[in-house]
């Protein structure tokens, strides 16, 4: 069952940027697209585990800083020609607060 958690205020995440949220052993990358949509993925690239949070955000995608894979923010799926998937988490934004389902 998903359990909502408060992360931060929207403006604490730069547009076309991300913040890292500690979570158990690893961490979660919370992205903010230019259109203020917020997405959350496990901060581990499906290719070789690079930190997606450090990538360049464009549209609803992020490009991994390590070898340039593109990953869909909403599904965590790698874009063709690459194959793989990063775990995604539900998010929602309510009057400026960002929430994450864990």
């Amino acid at each position: 069952m998903s359990n909502w958690h408060k992360v931060c205020r929207l403006e604490e995440i730069p547009p076309r940027g991300s913040r890292v949220v500690p979570h158990g052993a690893g961490s979660i990358a919370v992205f903010r697209a230019a259109d203020d949509h917020v997405f959350a993925l496990r901060d581990v690239c499906p290719h070789k585990g690079g930190p997606l949070s450090q990538g360049i955000v464009h549209g609803h995608r992020v490009t991994c800083p390590m070898h340039g894979w593109n990953v869909e923010l909403d599904s965590g799926e790698a874009c063709a020609p690459d194959h793989g998937c990063a775990r995604r988490y539900e998010t929602r934004v309510e009057d400026g607060e960002v929430f994450l389902a864990l």
Partner: protein, 829 residues
């Protein structure tokens, strides 16, 4: 209404390719019927040679199996030879069958030329054209010994090679003095002959066959037994292969009263004199030429299909052809006019022992012909220069050494060496048979997520015909699917998929429209994507801030992580910190602080870099501001497309040979350039004398002290492909060193494309034009110098800023998320 009826005579490579092209354009326009004299589907005739050589099986070379015909609703009459065309009733007649047509396509290929000598009809005398011939040869090889191949052209040599590999004792007989005279000059031919002899083939040149004599009674009674020549000589032969040329197969067309002249004469739309009847392939004569290679036939097929589909665009203009010999282990390539003539010049490389021969024929700065033997890797590139009639004046000196050397397509691909594929331009042709260029292959790989050679063949047809480009295609696959940065000829190419504008156009627009922000640029240049991609954003950001310093807004989110975090990301997600040591000089105090930091933050690796400074590797991102604080040293920008290092040698301050004070000169240069962003990294070096201990010869700007002053060298590069810097000018004062270096670098900043090192920029625009504007034109030089100083005015050390709180969010992780029921969320791993 009823579909129109299209009948195709000839179930071979050209005819079926035309049908394939037609189905792409207008799948439902026609009811299609195909007649083929051979009892098979369409197969890849080219690959009969590997089959004969035992390198492939017949199954491997099928292009369209019977299901393909079924699935596309095509009626195939395999093994039926069309004997008559009734153009009045519009009927095609094959013995008992009579099939009506609205449009008729003739693709009857050609028939081998059989020498009109006595004995030509004896059993054991065959041509080399189809599966039946190939099977006959394979059979002969199993129970006969002596083979004689008449004709030392492509076909003859491939036949001879195959028979030799199947254990026969093979002699190649040729009328002329050297082999493959239609494709090779004598020097190339002699080397080829030598290596074929090394494979066990025998040659008889300048011999004219008089007759074929039957074997005396015995096991082979009635079968061919020997070949006799005009000079009386005679050699044993249990198998004679006639490979003395082909003739366009026009018998059927002529009997139907169609005008033929060395082939069925066709127009630029591949129509015969009866506009309802088309002809493509070896049987057709276009502007007086009947081609004998697939590449031009495939071009004809495309145009023909276009007209059958009633699109009416597209004209066939004739083709320049190139040939490759398909004998495994032997590389021969030739194209265009390689014999030369008046007004032509030769560039020749002849390495007998190395087994390499290259001849390039040039006419008025254009490449018009090429013969390559032993190393044909650049055949595709030469062929392209030739077809496009490009002006090779500029690269002439390097032309002989091939694409990768003459041009610098090599992109910015980290330290990995560039494969031949990576060095090819996107527009370069990879598959000559099907006219597929690298760009198309890469695109297909990307778009359809292709991984195997087979997939690429299916989607692009590259390497699906003669197969000699297979190696290249595999390289391209590797470099593309690897997700690595992909090299390309960027001069005409759009910046990326988000726009149609190339780098030049974007740079120009940023200036002329005074674009000051990312979003302004997206809007003004109507980018396809809402906010670009990881390729165009960093480029755009650089163009904005370099064109409009102090006005355009720098966008950290459009910078690669290293430039955003001002440190180098490591494979494990930690960072490296390289503090600046001006000119490679440091102090006990700095070293102490570095030591303390290394201990305090448990830095796993401390390394002396190749840039005369120290690298602290393996630092957690959140520790970066603290590390910078404690170091109290400015950023070394070891992470940026920016000024990196100025290496120095000790120079006259200490060195017994030193003629100039190189250390302090280096420090002055580095301080002037501090904080300079550039299209790519910029590295300088200053040496105190020509012994050049600071390696100024491979730097973007290299300065070498001499008694009378300083020598400046530019556009060196010690990386992926070592490039020796070129002499720029000689100056006498330190002020001039600063001014000339600054001016050169500012011109680079204003003109080069993003990710273009100085060497690539200089090669693109030419050193002369740069000297004109920097060395010759004093006024312009001073203006450039001033513009650089202005851009760098008030630069603040990015590390210092960040220790004072700038961009804190970049380094501080968020607190653990709070369960909205109040209590802290803790999860055990």
């Amino acid at each position: 209404m009823d579909k129109q009826k299209l009948v195709v005579v000839g179930n071979g490579m050209a005819g079926i390719r035309a049908v394939e092209e037609l189905l792409k354009l207008a799948p439902d326009l026609y009811d299609i019927t195909v007649f083929g004299a051979e009892p098979h589907g369409n197969y890849n005739r080219i690959l009969l040679s590997p089959v004969l050589a035992g390198e492939m099986t017949l199954a491997d070379i099928v292009l369209n199996d019977l299901d393909w015909y079924k699935n596309n609703g095509i009626t195939l009459h395999a093994g039926k030879k069309v004997t008559k065309i009734d153009r009045v009733k519009r009927l095609v007649i094959a013995d008992d069958l009579a099939v009506p047509y609205d449009r008729l396509l003739l693709a009857t290929g050609s028939t081998p030329f059989i020498l009109p000598v006595p004995g030509k009809d004896l059993p054991g005398v065959i041509a080399y054209r189809d599966i039946a011939d190939t099977e006959a040869m394979i059979a002969a090889a199993t129970n006969h010994r002596h083979a004689v191949v008449i004709g030392a052209g492509l076909l003859g040599l491939e036949a001879a090679n195959g028979l030799r590999l199947r254990g026969m004792d093979v002699t190649v007989v040729h009328l002329l003095d050297w082999i493959m005279e239609r494709q090779l000059d004598q020097a190339g031919a002699d080397m080829l002959q030598a290596s074929l002899e090394a494979k066990g083939l025998k040659f008889l040149l300048g011999k004219q066959t008089e007759m074929l004599t039957a074997a005396p009674d015995g096991r082979n009674a009635g079968r061919v037994g020997a070949v006799r020549f005009k000079d009386g000589a005679e050699i044993p032969a249990d198998l004679v292969v006639m490979a003395a040329g082909i003739r366009p197969n026009t018998a059927l067309a002529e009997s139907a009263g169609l005008y033929c002249n060395r082939g069925i004469v066709v127009t630029d739309t591949l129509q015969t004199y009866d506009p309802k009847i088309y002809a493509v392939g070896e049987c057709a004569a276009h502007r007086g030429t009947a081609y004998g290679l697939v590449a031009p036939l495939f071009e004809q097929a495309k145009v023909c299909a276009n007209h059958l589909a009633q699109h009416g665009i597209g004209r066939y203009q004739g083709s320049v052809t190139s040939t490759k010999l398909k004998v495994t282990g032997i590389d021969v390539f030739s194209a265009g006019n390689f014999t030369g003539g008046d007004g032509t010049e030769d560039i020749v490389l002849h390495d007998k022992n190395g087994g390499i021969y290259k001849r390039l024929v040039i006419e008025k700065d254009k490449l018009i012909g090429a013969v390559l033997y032993g190393d044909t890797a650049d055949g595709g590139w030469y062929f392209q220069l030739l077809k496009e009639g490009r002006d090779i004046g500029a690269i002439r000196d390097h032309l002989m050494f091939g694409d990768a050397f003459a041009n610098n397509h090599v992109g910015d691909v980290g330290h990995a060496g560039a494969s031949q594929a990576a060095a090819m331009a996107d527009t370069a042709e990879v598959c000559g048979c099907n006219g597929v260029c690298k760009g198309t292959i890469v695109k297909a790989i990307r778009e359809h997520g292709l991984f195997t050679l087979e997939d690429v063949r299916k989607h692009t047809k590259a390497s699906s015909s003669c197969g000699s480009c297979t190696g290249l295609v595999e390289q391209i696959l590797a470099s593309t699917v690897g997700g690595a940065y992909q090299a390309a000829d960027r001069s005409t190419k759009p910046v990326c998929g988000c726009t149609d504008f190339n780098h030049n156009e974007v740079r120009h627009a940023v200036r002329s429209m005074k674009l000051l922000s990312m979003d302004a640029a997206f809007k003004a240049l109507d980018w396809r994507t809402p906010d670009g991609c990881a390729t165009c954003r960093p480029a755009l950001n650089y163009y904005l801030i370099s064109t409009w310093p102090h006005e355009a807004q720098d966008d950290p989110q459009s910078r690669f992580i290293n430039e955003r975090a001002h440190a180098n990301i490591q494979k494990d997600g930690t960072y490296s910190v390289v503090p600046r040591m001006w000119g490679g000089l440091t102090t006990p105090d700095e070293l102490r602080r570095i030591a303390d930091v290394a201990e305090k933050y448990k830095v796993p690796t401390v390394k002396v870099t190749g840039g005369q400074r120290i690298d602290l590797l393996g630092i957690k991102k959140e520790d970066l501001p603290g590390v910078w604080q404690d170091l109290g040293m400015p950023s070394g920008h070891a992470y940026g497309k920016s000024i990196r290092t100025v290496k120095t040698c000790v120079g006259s301050e200490h060195c017994r040979f030193g003629t100039q004070r190189s250390m302090s000169m280096g420090v002055e240069l580095e301080k002037m350039l501090f904080g300079m962003w550039s299209p790519h990294k910029v590295k300088l070096a200053v040496s105190g004398c020509p012994r050049n201990c600071a390696e100024a010869g491979i730097k973007d700007v290299g300065v070498i002290g001499v008694d009378s002053g300083w020598e400046l060298y530019v556009a060196g590069n010690g990386g992926i492909k070592t490039e020796v810097a070129e002499f720029f000018c000689k100056v006498s004062t330190r002020e001039e060193v600063l001014e000339y270096s600054a001016a050169f670098l500012q011109l680079y900043r204003e003109e080069a494309w993003y990710l273009e090192r100085t060497v690539h920029w200089v090669q693109r625009v030419g050193l002369e034009s740069i000297k004109q504007r920097v060395v010759a034109d004093a006024e312009n030089r001073k203006a450039l110098h001033q513009r650089l100083l202005y851009a760098l005015q008030g630069t603040i050390d990015p590390w210092l800023e960040r220790t004072q709180g700038v961009a804190r969010h970049e380094f501080a992780p968020l607190p653990a998320p709070i369960d909205i029921n109040g209590e802290h969320h803790v999860e055990l791993a």
